[in-house]
């Protein structure tokens, strides 16, 4: 079944099969691997480039370039911004886009640039997708040219999804 929904905001619950996701604790360390790194100790930014893979808990982010901003007395990560071929994988859920901003304190990722969230056979697209890492939900926002589009398979793999 295919439904096209046009609205400013759509709250979509994307559940994983079988069991609920454990979620990513924002207290867990953020581990990053890349080809190169440029760091500015005064601006408190680290720019990772080339086959970037960032992991925190059960969430993995793949991108071309990642800018980590940190600060405060313990140099905690305040923001992670991904540029180019952004792909976020968490258990069976996957989100993609051209650009994304991850806020570790809120455990929230804002994706733009043809963003898409896929969970099993369900697919949601829009102008901006706000992906809540610990809550198994995404808020999809439409734009003037980009309407929200959702492909949901009731009775499929996602039976028992959160309302």
């Amino acid at each position: 079944m295919r439904r096209i929904v046009s609205c400013l905001s759509l709250l979509l619950a994307l559940a994983t099969t079988g069991h609920a996701a454990q979620g990513t604790s924002n207290k867990e360390p953020l581990k990053v691997k890349s080809d190169t790194l440029n760091t500015d100790n005064e601006k408190k930014t680290a720019t990772f480039e080339g086959k970037v893979v960032a992991r925190q808990g059960d969430m993995t982010l793949y991108t071309d370039r990642l800018v980590v901003s940190y600060g405060g007395p313990n140099n905690e990560v305040s923001q992670v911004e991904a540029f180019g071929n952004v792909r976020i994988v968490q258990e069976e859920r996957q989100a993609t886009g051209a650009h994304g901003v991850y806020d570790p304190k809120l455990a929230r990722i804002v994706l733009d640039g043809n963003p898409k969230v896929v969970s099993g056979e369900d697919v949601v697209t829009g102008k901006i997708i706000t992906y809540y890492v610990n809550e198994q939900k995404s808020v999809v926002t439409s734009g003037p040219k980009e309407r929200v589009e959702a492909v949901i398979h009731p009775g499929g793999k996602n039976v028992g999804a959160k309302p």
Partner: protein, 190 residues
């Protein structure tokens, strides 16, 4: 008879004087052997001057740029290189960036270019709390840059970074890891 006695007395005195001369000669030679010899350490080949507690300060327009000290420095005039042991380098950052102190087992100071090669247990520590460690690093004076192709570990408050190859600009404290980067950022004060 009187002459004979005088002759005997003369021979006796002569024997005593001869004995005293022999004893004095033996004592003198013994003293010569016991006297300590001056030990002058031979410098290794290709070393023209050897200095202990070497210290050099590089200034630009009256401002300290960096300082280099070593427990020993052997200068080779032909190569114009000072071979250093027990090296400590202090780089003074511009604009209140604080000091960066680098230590190493050995080093080579090129007098012409003022470039420095630091080798063995190279450790850098900044007054702002971050530091690095590697096996070898070169200071390129013209670019105020530390450079290495070796594996480097960097630590800061809340983070650990690793990579192969580094360019570290001492005047701005910006650095670049060139290959195989791995980073861990601890969250929540862990």
């Amino acid at each position: 008879m009187h002459n004979f006695n005088n002759f005997k007395r003369f021979l006796g005195v002569l024997a005593v004087v001869a004995s005293l001369l022999v004893i004095a000669t033996i004592v003198f030679r013994m003293q010569q052997e016991v006297a300590p010899k001056l030990s002058v350490r031979k410098l290794p080949l290709q070393v023209d001057v050897s200095l202990h507690n070497f210290h050099y300060t590089e200034t630009k327009q009256g401002i300290k740029h960096w300082e280099l000290s070593a427990t020993r420095a052997d200068y080779n005039k032909a190569a114009d290189i000072s071979y250093l042991t027990g090296v400590r380098m202090v780089v003074h950052g511009a604009g209140g960036l604080g000091e960066l102190v680098i230590t190493a087992d050995t080093g080579q100071y090129h007098n012409g270019t003022r470039d420095i090669a630091l080798v063995g247990n190279v450790r850098g520590k900044s007054s702002k709390g971050y530091g690095f460690s590697t096996h070898r690093v070169n200071y390129v004076a013209a670019r105020s840059m530390l450079q290495t192709t070796e594996r480097v570990e960097l630590t800061d408050i809340g983070s650990q970074l690793e990579g192969t190859g580094m360019e570290y600009y001492t005047q701005t404290r910006k650095f670049r890891l060139l290959k195989d980067v791995s980073a861990v950022y601890r969250q929540g004060g862990e």
